[in-house]
Symmetry: none
Subunit: 410 residues, 2 copies
């Protein structure tokens, strides 16, 4: 089974938007064991879309077309599918109703343009869109299949996971099962990590071992096993994971869908401790990441983003002269414990740039971790990169410090 | 003149690396006034590379092939060019020397594999690589031209700017200038916006008008003008922008590199007002966005992310029974003014999900805006989507409310 990808959008060709969709699709297809050899981008141009689709259909068994399903006149994926299939568009009344209902719940009138989204090629199947107004379309053409999905990533992701991949697997008459597992690490460089597990990588083919550098999400070690059954694949992965954990130890902070913040919240919750934050250069990023975890309210109390020095003093009770110092970050963490009424607190202060502050260079960051019954721990670091990168790295770094601190407690 | 793009690399198809090169190339070509209609990605596979190149050459005047010039055996772009041109590879002695010299300056021995990088199709021209060991290649085939450039972005950028674009412009025989301008809007749907300016879009070809949906960054209306000089292109854009502003008015919140948060910070600064935030479901996102603007510290005081109800009461002084209400969000905004000592405050409280809260459904969000000398304004809305989307939309929506409030003041 070979499934190629066509991304639609003049803005992609002009470089106004980077096409991340086809990379994501490639990853999903690879994990499902489906070959994908030709990815293309064309603009919102009916003739060129039709030509590309016909061309791809000559070699592939299936195509995912991504984008061009919107309500505006330049969205012509529906027309292109009809042209390739040699059929007409027909308006589906059930879609008219569901699109109108979608606008109804938002308390807005439906512009007439949106009715175009109810036009589907004759004989094609509608793919439901749980996340937006643009329905997807599946059209079968001479024993091959084209899936048209929206270009909006979260709408596309849901549709591909829930419909496209299962449908492709069914058509492929799935023989082998693929199971993946990502061990997420923080604290080692890619080359450092590669050296630590070089022997394992050389000795191993199933599961395969790959590195994925995900920036502020960490460095992932991804295991992918192929086997006759899910249970067999999982057992291959479990054996390999045990060997990796013996080498990497505390560098591994999470697995698969877990994140640094979900792991830290769980570790606090297991001890019955609530968590609060005092931030400066991050401005609220740490709180925002914690609050993004469903169920965070069981544990997360809140965050004081004390950006101005006066706010550090008046709200958190900071008295130290320098606001870029161990004393300051320690007082911020303890201030957060007091003001937010939480058991555990982390704090960050530093220089995000573009200018130095208090005579400290850009990238200087102090972290503080306060847990009940122990002295507040402070650590200084010097982070590289620009303002955004320094703030993002500060966020995950202080959460990682808290993770290690909690792991080290009796 | 039409120049298409072929990006090479199996890791691109597998989604292990996102192809940012072709977007960058598309931008450069568009700015130079060169059409680019078909961008493709294929893996490190000689047959498929040759087929794609021949296919693209049928429609385009030129192709930029990006990647596959490295020293390892899976780098076969040189072989593909030779196959398409119907010639053999020949080893260029001057390249052997320069590659060896490159290794010499880095104090490393040259692996034998690197000699492959000195193999160039007969009759082709070498494009110098000032930044790395992989020389580029320009091959002319039946009056058309293929440029092979490295996949490493900074090496590719230099080669394209210094050689490829000038060479293309010379072949095209004329230079027209392209100037773009993005008007960023918030508050109308894509289809609603399209209807408002349908007449302008129909009547207009230079500047062209395109819509870019950027999710929580807003909906952009992008004007692109083509002219003989920058001044002429800018004047075409200025005239069109005036017509658009007459129709879209306050929906336009920013232009080009400006963001909602930079605009709001500037509007506060112009009145000499400091700004603070009280957040609940956003957990710190609003503060984090404001703090990301360089120079924010002139205006932004901080943010209280009062995630737990008790923190809303103890820190912000909220007394209302329900924490999802006009009274609560109003007390939060006024609490932020008091606690953070700021002139202007925005506040957000609501239900991000997954579960309803206080009998209010997921997506219910209250916004509050407090400015000096006026009663605090509160607005309720019902946002669609998942937890992350509700939090992100809440963030930009409340900043937009503040923007409109400040605009409306005497």
């Amino acid at each position: 089974m070979r499934c190629d990808v066509l991304a639609i959008g003049t803005e992609l060709l002009l470089g106004q938007i980077i096409d991340t969709n086809s990379a994501w699709l490639g990853e999903q297809l690879a994990e499902a064991g489906i070959d994908s050899y030709d990815h293309r981008k064309v603009g919102d141009n009916l003739d060129r879309m039709v030509a590309s689709l016909k061309d791809l259909l000559a070699n592939a068994d299936a195509i995912v077309v991504c984008g061009g399903l919107g309500p505006t006149p330049d969205d012509v994926t529906r027309e292109a599918l009809a042209a390739v299939a040699g059929v007409r568009l027909e308006r589906r009344e059930e879609l008219v109703e569901s699109i109108a209902a979608m606008f109804g719940t938002r308390g807005r009138d439906m512009p007439a343009n949106n009715l175009r989204q109810a036009d589907i090629p004759e004989g094609a199947q509608v793919i439901p869109n749980a996340m937006g107004t643009a329905p997807g379309v599946m059209a079968e053409i001479d024993g091959k299949v084209i899936y048209a999905v929206p270009g909006v990533p979260y709408e596309m992701h849901a549709m591909v996971k829930d419909f496209v991949i299962p449908d492709l697997l069914e058509r492929a008459g799935l023989r082998s099962v693929i199971v993946s597992r990502s061990l997420k690490t923080w604290g080692a460089s890619e080359s450092g990590l590669a050296e630590m597990i070089a022997q394992l990588v050389d000795d191993q083919s199933n599961p395969s071992i790959a590195f994925l550098a995900r920036g502020i999400e960490g460095l992932y070690v991804r295991l992918t096993a192929k086997a006759a059954s899910v249970a067999e694949a999982q057992s291959l992965i479990a054996a390999e994971e045990a060997e990796l954990r013996a080498i990497l130890g505390d560098l591994i902070f999470a697995v698969d869908d877990e994140t640094m913040e979900s792991v830290v919240l769980r570790a606090c919750a297991e001890r019955g401790w609530s968590l609060g934050v005092a931030e400066s250069l991050t401005g609220g990023l740490i709180g925002a990441r914690l609050a993004n975890i469903p169920g965070a309210s069981e544990t997360f109390r809140g965050s004081i983003a004390s950006y101005a020095t006066e706010v550090k003093r008046s709200v958190l009770g900071v008295t130290s002269d320098s606001v870029i110092s161990a004393e300051c970050v320690s007082q911020m963490a303890e201030g957060a414990q007091r003001v937010l009424g939480c058991d555990v607190a982390v704090a960050v202060t530093g220089v995000a740039g573009p200018d130095e502050q208090d005579g400290q260079p850009v990238g200087t960051v102090w972290f503080g971790v306060a847990v009940p019954g122990f002295a507040t721990e402070t650590v200084a670091t010097r982070l590289p990169g620009d303002r955004e990168r320094i703030r993002q790295f500060s966020t995950i770094s202080v959460l990682n410090l808290l993770r290690l601190r909690l792991n080290s407690l009796p």
